[in-house]
């Protein structure tokens, strides 16, 4: 039964009931809740309930020095933390008028794309688990860990890299890093057919995912859907291309799209994006050795650093969609206001509520995972 056919009655019959879906529920990504009203096992309406991961980031950032915030920002989105660091650093650079050395920009792109790979691999695992397939999850997480090993080598941290700093990056690549990265990319590419067999061409996935959580391009635009979820509705729209930042305009990559607009399309888009990220990383491996120069523009002593008054809105394409960072300075030692637009603020609330409506209960988890909703981004 679709939602439009549903008429609420004065006294709900017994087959109509409410369910707390989360926060402690294996079908929920992160610590998040969805209150669903069911008619049988059809969702009549759903309402997101967030705040379980609320830390008051924006308030916290107003209380810390500009430099201190670099440790805080990656924590806003746990599965894909790197874009947060880059976005914050870029915003501060814009406010200060700092020119980031070219090599730092390339290193940042490298970090972003590696982070995208980790996020997508994680996504495959999560999505597979919601369809009852645990093997892709085991694979995805284990392969993601190999990328994390490289992160550890490059940045000293596995997940929270804290690699960026306004002005550039903190460390240059260690010796032999590019070779190892190249080998890893070869390995990941060789793994893809295996993933295909197990997951992407799996009859179970296709049957479960096709038509699940389907939205039209029009709806997607209306709900401010961004990133792979938007591209899964057939619109070639990517911040990296439309509003290029760092050195993305020097890199060759395609923007994969799918037409279906459903969970399957969203998964396939991400699979193609993984390939594109590998392609971008290959170009970086080729170009990086020829780009010399410093990795960080000199910044003032962090303890005596007033960032000039002004505002900056930085947009970035994270693995989940458009990331927006609005940073306001009043010329002081601390940000006056930071506002984070996580892509999931749209996906996990409005879009999820709308897509869940009319779907079956068992599909809700899949819809949420297929949207790659990241609750900490909503809660901040």
């Amino acid at each position: 039964m679709r939602a439009e056919n549903y008429e609420p009655k004065q006294h709900p019959p017994s087959h109509e009931y409410e369910l707390n879906f989360g926060p402690n529920h294996p079908g929920i990504e992160g610590n998040y809740a969805l209150k669903v009203k069911l008619h049988g096992d059809t969702v009549v309406s759903a309402r997101a309930d967030a705040g379980y991961l609320h830390r008051g980031f924006e308030k916290l950032m107003e209380q810390r020095l500009w430099i201190q915030n670099i440790a805080l920002v990656p924590r806003i989105c746990v599965p894909d933390p790197s874009p947060m660091e880059v976005a914050y650093s870029m915003a501060v650079e814009q406010l200060c008028g700092l020119d980031v050395p070219e090599r730092a920009q390339w290193l940042r792109v490298m970090q972003l794309e590696m982070s995208r790979i980790t996020a997508h691999l994680f996504y495959f695992g999560g999505h597979a688990a919601t369809t009852g397939m645990y093997n892709p999850m085991f694979w995805g997480v284990a392969d993601r860990d190999l990328v994390l090993d490289l992160f550890e080598e490059l940045t000293g941290g596995r997940v929270y890299c804290i690699y960026n700093m306004p002005g550039g990056v903190r460390r240059d690549i260690p010796e032999g890093f590019l070779d190892r990265l190249s080998r890893l990319l070869d390995y990941l590419e060789s793994r893809l057919p295996e993933y295909d067999n197990l997951f992407f061409t799996n009859h179970v996935l296709i049957n479960r995912a096709k038509g699940t959580g389907q939205m039209s391009q029009h709806q997607a635009l209306e709900w401010a859907v961004t990133g792979p979820n938007l591209r899964a509705t057939g619109l070639q729209c990517d911040v990296r291309r439309d509003d290029p930042y760092l050195v993305y305009d020097e890199l060759e990559f395609d923007i994969p799209v799918e037409q279906g607009g459903d969970a399957l399309a969203r998964t396939l888009v991400r699979r193609s994006e993984l390939q594109q990220s590998i392609r971008i990383l290959r170009q970086i491996i080729q170009r990086l050795p020829s780009i010399k120069g410093p990795i960080r523009a000199p910044i003032p002593n962090p303890l005596a650093w007033n960032v000039p008054a002004g505002e900056a809105y930085v947009r970035l394409e994270s693995s989940k969609g458009e990331l927006g960072w609005y940073v306001v300075s009043n010329g002081g030692q601390k940000p006056y206001r930071v506002h984070v637009r996580g892509p999931s603020s749209m996906h996990a609330v409005q879009v999820l509520e709308n897509l869940a409506k009319g779907s079956r209960l068992e599909d809700v988890a899949q819809i949420m995972f297929s949207l790659d909703a990241c609750p900490p981004e909503v809660d901040r």
């Binding site: 409410e18 610590n31 609320h54 694979w139 997480v141």
Partner: protein, 243 residues
């Protein structure tokens, strides 16, 4: 295995039992503890960012299943409550509810800095700072966040502790319920209540001490209302239907 009547066994005073010197009972105890330590179910609840290192720890690369530990979805069947990092106040209420629902013996592990002294979010109005104010904690794993290897090392240490029979922090919740409740009331307000009857359970487990009850439990009794069936509080009908 999980449904082994552990509480009944601990209900008897262990010290008396040891003095009795019943060799069979001692061997039996050890066997039980060994079995307990080798099949721990961990509640699948990601409270904070540390949760991101649990999938690697659970899956093939670090594989905690070889220790007999695996995630479990319901608190009733779980042994370990793994608090993965910061706990927002809103989550803390759920965590306490969950904890009280878990069957004894139960173990709480606090990982990340945030469970110890507030961590990164020490200035935040939204997160709880010291986990052991609100429930007894067995083990802490340092890190922000700890790597899967550290998590596994911690779990192995917990297993050791269970094996030698010292992981009894859960009893503390019954013995000093008033203290924990007081901290909960300080944060959540004095009308805070949970559906579980801790005082009754403490008597059942023979863990009732003078500290179990106090001013805070009296306050609780003052405000406690019988549980009512959940009402429909969505308020969805007019507002979200047309979106």
């Amino acid at each position: 295995m999980k449904e082994f009547p552990v509480p009944v066994q601990t209900a008897e005073d262990p010290s008396v039992k040891k003095q009795s010197g019943n060799i069979f009972s001692n061997v039996f105890d050890e066997l039980v503890r060994f079995a307990q330590s080798r099949s721990l179910f961990m509640l699948h609840y990601c409270t904070g960012c540390g949760a991101i290192e649990l999938p690697p720890a659970m899956t093939s690369r670090f594989d905690m299943e070889r220790l007999g530990i695996q995630p479990m979805v319901t608190p009733r069947q779980a042994d370990i409550l793994l608090i993965t990092g910061y706990v927002s106040v809103k989550t803390l209420k759920r965590v306490i509810l969950t904890y009280e629902q878990m069957n004894a013996p139960k173990y709480v592990i606090g990982i990340c800095s945030c469970t110890v002294n507030g961590g990164m979010y020490w200035q935040s109005y939204a997160t709880a700072k010291k986990l052991n104010d609100y429930m007894p904690v067995d083990l802490y794993i340092a890190g922000c966040m700890p790597r899967p290897e550290a998590v596994i090392s911690g779990l192995r240490q917990l297993m050791e502790k269970i094996k030698i029979g010292e992981a009894n922090s859960w009893q503390d919740y019954f013995k000093r319920y008033d203290y924990y409740l007081g901290n909960q009331q300080r944060l959540f307000g004095e009308t805070w209540q949970t559906p579980t009857d801790i005082i009754g359970e403490s008597k059942h487990y023979s863990l009732h001490t003078p500290e179990t009850e106090g001013e805070h439990t009296r306050l609780l009794e003052l405000h406690q209302r019988p549980l009512e069936p959940l009402e429909m509080r969505l308020g969805l009908s007019e507002k979200t239907e047309d979106r």
